[in-house]
Symmetry: C2
Subunit: 409 residues, 2 copies
């Protein structure tokens, strides 16, 4: 049975981890930083060294290509991203790119003839130190000029990064590819959670990438003297906010598992020991793999927010902050991953991805799916991020055999 070159893959991972390496053993390689530019140049060198084609699109997405014999064949994309968060780890993104690279090399060296061009791709700025899922949005044609005007990393940093990479906003906005030329997309990633580790399972097959909705929930009451105003005469905005936090948590845990909810920030006004809060603003985010469930969650949460306002003699204002739709993944690609794992004798389970990935963009234009390998302790975005060598190799072999399975389709 064909398998990847374990030694080479682990060496490629080690070599890449030296680019942007931090003293703490992590990696700082933010998108289009000097370190990222070095990693990009390194990938090109590797492609050339091993005799694979190399290409870069106008969004800075890097491709290493093993062409099919038929020049008109569709392209099977497989990859992830080279960029990291500041002070991140060695595996997030890097594993997916290098496993794909190694799978292509293995197929090239085995002289396998596939009916698709195989393209190992690294997307620009997955992590969002500039924009977030930037390269895959550009490739999928969903990036807008507006996304670039006030990016989360700041406009100046974006422009500096584009200049460094010899890219332009116009190029970003014109990087979309024709879906008719694509056969499928596959991404290997570390889990960034503990479900696989705890269940002692080799491979997680991702059925959906969760949608994320965020809102500001603002309770409004009356500022009052915290001494002279009797408790039963108060309209304390924080009482509403605290009750909402508790009841929303309980409701989501009881009725929307495995969906999750977070209240990550709170602002009270006026905000003094001796003044009853007039205003309490909660930063609410919730996630689920199904849009139907997200709609149901939101209906329940709104109703809860309003019921609580009545109980505490408050009003409530709800402001939309952002939405990312849930991305159900492709049954055919999911089945190919499971078939590959079975072929290799690896255990697997289906799960949702509760973090965002480039796969969610690709899933909107081509059959796409992704697989996870275990993260030790679930630690990620941290120098202590670690995935055991055997799981690295398992993941790459599943990528290889998934490509082979998809090639039969």
């Amino acid at each position: 049975m064909l398998t990847i070159n374990t030694e080479r893959l682990l060496r490629l991972l080690d070599n890449l981890a030296e680019i942007g390496a931090t003293a703490a053993g992590g990696v700082s390689r933010p998108a289009l930083s000097e370190a990222d530019m070095k990693a990009r140049a390194w990938l090109k060198e590797q492609a050339e060294f091993y005799g694979l084609n190399y290409r870069e699109d106008s969004a800075g997405n890097l491709s290493v290509i093993l062409p099919a014999e038929d020049a008109n064949a569709k392209t099977l994309l497989v990859g992830s991203h080279l960029d990291t968060v500041p002070n991140g780890g060695r595996y997030d993104g890097a594993l997916g790119v290098l496993a794909a690279f190694e799978a292509l090399l293995t197929l090239k060296e085995a002289y396998r003839k596939l009916p698709y061009h195989l393209e190992c791709i690294s997307f620009t700025d997955e992590e969002g130190t500039l924009v977030g899922l930037l390269g895959s949005s550009a490739l999928c044609g969903t990036l807008t000029a507006e996304d670039l005007t006030a990016p989360r990393g700041g406009r100046e940093r974006l422009l500096a990064g584009l200049k460094r990479a010899n890219l332009t906003e116009e190029g970003l906005l014109n990087a979309h590819r024709d879906p008719a030329t694509l056969a499928a997309f596959l991404e290997l990633h570390i889990e960034q959670g503990t479900r696989l580790e705890e269940a002692n399972i080799d491979i997680g097959v991702v059925t959906s990438i969760v949608g994320i909705r965020s809102y500001w929930i603002e309770y409004l009451g009356d500022a009052a003297h915290a001494g002279t105003t009797p408790m039963d005469k108060r309209a304390d905005a924080f009482w509403g906010a605290a009750a909402f936090t508790q009841q929303a948590r309980d409701m989501v845990m009881e009725r929307f598992y495995p969906g999750v909810i977070n209240i990550g920030a709170v602002e009270l006004a006026p905000g003094a020991f001796n003044i009853v809060p007039a205003r309490a603003r909660l930063a609410l985010e919730f996630r689920h793999g199904s849009e139907t469930e997200l709609n149901a969650m939101w209906a329940e949460l709104q109703s809860l927010a309003r019921d609580i306002a009545q109980v505490y003699n408050l009003s409530v204002q709800i402001t939309h902050s952002g939405s990312i739709p849930a991305a159900p993944l492709n049954d055919g690609v999911i089945a190919a991953i499971e078939h590959a794992a079975d072929t290799l004798g690896l255990s697997h389970t289906r799960l949702m991805s509760f973090a965002g990935h480039d796969t969610q963009n690709l899933s909107r234009i081509t059959p796409a799916a992704m697989l996870f390998v275990p993260s030790v302790g679930g630690i990620s975005h941290n120098p202590r991020e670690y995935t055991r060598a055997r799981d690295v190799v398992n993941g790459a072999n599943v990528v290889l055999h998934t490509l082979l399975k998809l090639a039969q389709a």
Copy 2:
């Protein structure tokens, strides 16, 4: 029956309200501001005009005196304060000073011989735009040099105010009076709440000024990815903070009435939509008129804070922020106020003061009590602060007859 000169008292109140008057109909007369200096000069003029003695101590406390025949008699203090909060009202403080002034005038004009020197006093900076209860702390000997190093209004403003009034820090720290020279202290004030208005009662007899305790309650959990961390694996510090807020409120309302609790500020860290809060810091304050009850409240609150930490897999750190002890008032002076109200045919009820007043300082060195008259709508520290003329007059007459009753003792 002897009663005060209604017309004169209302005119004095109107005249004083012109000093520092705001366009909105309120009064801005912060301690030792230019407006406060004008009000002080005005009070001295009134004393001289009406043939009463005038004195100012080294803390800037102003006294208008009707001396007893016996120069060695003790002094019966009665008063409040001329300063206001910025953009405050016409009655808070001013009523207590002018009712005392009018009572002295009435007794003088009636040629009543009392066995005490009667001293109408206005304390410096009751409101705390500089230090808070400054003049009464100085008079009672509890002011320390430390209180002046980082005052709540800022060191610069304090020094500027002292200079304007020709006062010194040394003078403040040496303004204490010998308790053996004092007979009692009495203060009339507006209620700044709605209990009297709602019960349609003329006079509130204050039995205690609440103690205030403030603490930071900080829950500590683990920052985590708000998507990939399952709900049941989180140590969300805000879950603890929200549960504590709710349960502490319910506990105080059920078991410590009329005690009150407030959580006036909250800080979450890291503080983002997509990060589970690692840290939630609550600004907790609670008040009660009895130190025994304050101790019991605090024992229950600490126990609750720790129980909740366990439930949510958090730790909790509690930091003391400040304490003002409860000030139970003097039974003899309370009885004299009630006797005076009965004499005048006015309804009265006992209550606690949930706000701080100079009386709490005086109560530590001499028999002291205070009375409230209704505030319309409970509004205070606001240009709309209002007390009806009949309640102003009732209050002043109760002051007059309380002095007469105390003089019999």
